[in-house]
Amino acid sequence: MTGNIQVDIEKRYSGQEEAPDFNLDVNFTASNELVVLFGRSGSGKTTTLRCIAGLGKPDAGFIEVNGKVYFDSGSKKNLSPQDRRPGYVFQNYALFPHMNVAKNITYGLKGKSDAEKEQRLHEMLELLHITGLQDQYPSRLSGGQKQRVALARALAPNPDILLLDEPFSALDMVVRMRLRERIHSIQEKLDIPVLFITHNPVEAFTLADKVVVLHEGSVQQEGRPEEVFYNPCNRHVAELVGVSNIFDADTAGKSENGFVLDTDSISITTTTNVEQGGRYSWGVRPENVHLHPGGEDISGCNVFSTTVRSVVNRGASRVVAVDIPGGGSVLLSEMDNRTFGKLDIGPGSQCRVEIDPRDVLVFAREDSAD
């Protein structure tokens, strides 16, 4: 099972004033790929990463990387971070301010000769396109340069695993995009598992080979980005991946076209199996809510007439809010400006809504999070 990671840990924080009853219970596996731990701040992402690095100790469980057991509460095994030697990039880079770039990068090459260090330094400088910076001190570097030096330092000792804690949150958009591509190509080149923390859904989606969704300390769902984003398993995951339309269904049943959920006075058909009389919520991504002009005659299920409440221009797209007939709820539809221009609608206009039954997501009903 070389090149795999296996994490199954528990950690309890109880009775503390700040986080009254937070329990971490994380379980996932991955191969040599780019795994994104995705969740809100406070969901336990950083704690998980630190437990893998040996900088925090789980109360119970098992951690294995590349066939090497890092932690096993059963056999009381707990390798020190020095024995795990993961490549770890902290959110704020944590470059040694009293060492220049060259010293920072070679600091992990303990026991290597000066010639070996020099050679590895130049490999790393080239890999991260920072040749020429070796004599600079961290305080003189830009955010993007710091980031690349931190990556070079983490990769120099050939770690078995690379751990990245929100590495792009402090960088601006352009630098961010370049570094994302670099990390992907580095992962492919080195063929080690890369674990990456983020709370940004686009970042998660764009980078990940595999997404592990954390919410309040526990894994909600793991899978390819497409699985997680297009088939979130519950309301928490749905909210995280941008399903901004979620409604409780009053009744559930079966119809000739599939399964039916009723909310207010509309009836939504879905291809997902639901049980008669079960308690469900349903959701739809705003870009999957299609609008048509009020007069247009369209057939099919999940088509209904309604009124436009408001239109918000988001720059590259428009978000149109329409009323759900028979209740106070609002459904959001997002579209590009060209499509919106063709529609010719505004606040107060009549329009027709169309939702593909395959785009209707169904979840077990639970109390909505605030």
């Binding site: 971070p81 020095q82 795990r84 030697r85 944590a94 040694f96 301010p97 992990g108 303990k110 983490a154």
Partner: protein
Amino acid sequence: MLEQAIYPLYITLKIATLSTILVVLVGLLISYLLARRDFTGKNFVDILVTLPLVLPPTVTGYLLVILLGKNGVLGQSLFEITGYSILFTWQAAVIAAFVVSLPLMVKTTSAAIGSVDRELEYVAYTLGHSELETALFVTLPLAKKGIMAGLVLSFARAVGEFGATLMVAGNIPGKTNTMSLSIYTAFQSGNDSLANILVVILVIMSLVSMAATA
């Protein structure tokens, strides 16, 4: 007059230098442990080390006499083994100076160590460096400013020590008459010119200390 100031200057520098070397060695270890480690008795160590900061120096001196005197807990054993009594020697003055200046070193240095970003140490660990290596090459260099300030304050405190030194080392001419003690004697005996010379020397040393910590 000047020659009367030479011995006090010599013995003061000798006592303060030795005391400061001890303070730095012991202080760095204790400061690191207090700032970075949890251990049983941590609070007790903290209180014991800090106590001389709030204890009147004459009380500290009196307690040292009880400890180091011929009938004292430590002094007795020392006397029985070596036949040597430490009270009223310059070595006793070093101990007094050490005890009163250690808290200054520990307070300043442990605060400086505590404000070093822990993530820098964590990075060093993940890069394979032991805690000792990390402390020596990452933590302490980054706490350098605080350590230097602690060292200078400790040295100044050792130079200025009066109450405790008077109790444990006396004010024996040619043996333990440090500058602080000599000023008092000169003042009492109306030897104003000696007192003035000593005061000028000490004010200059203090200003240099302040410049060094600023």
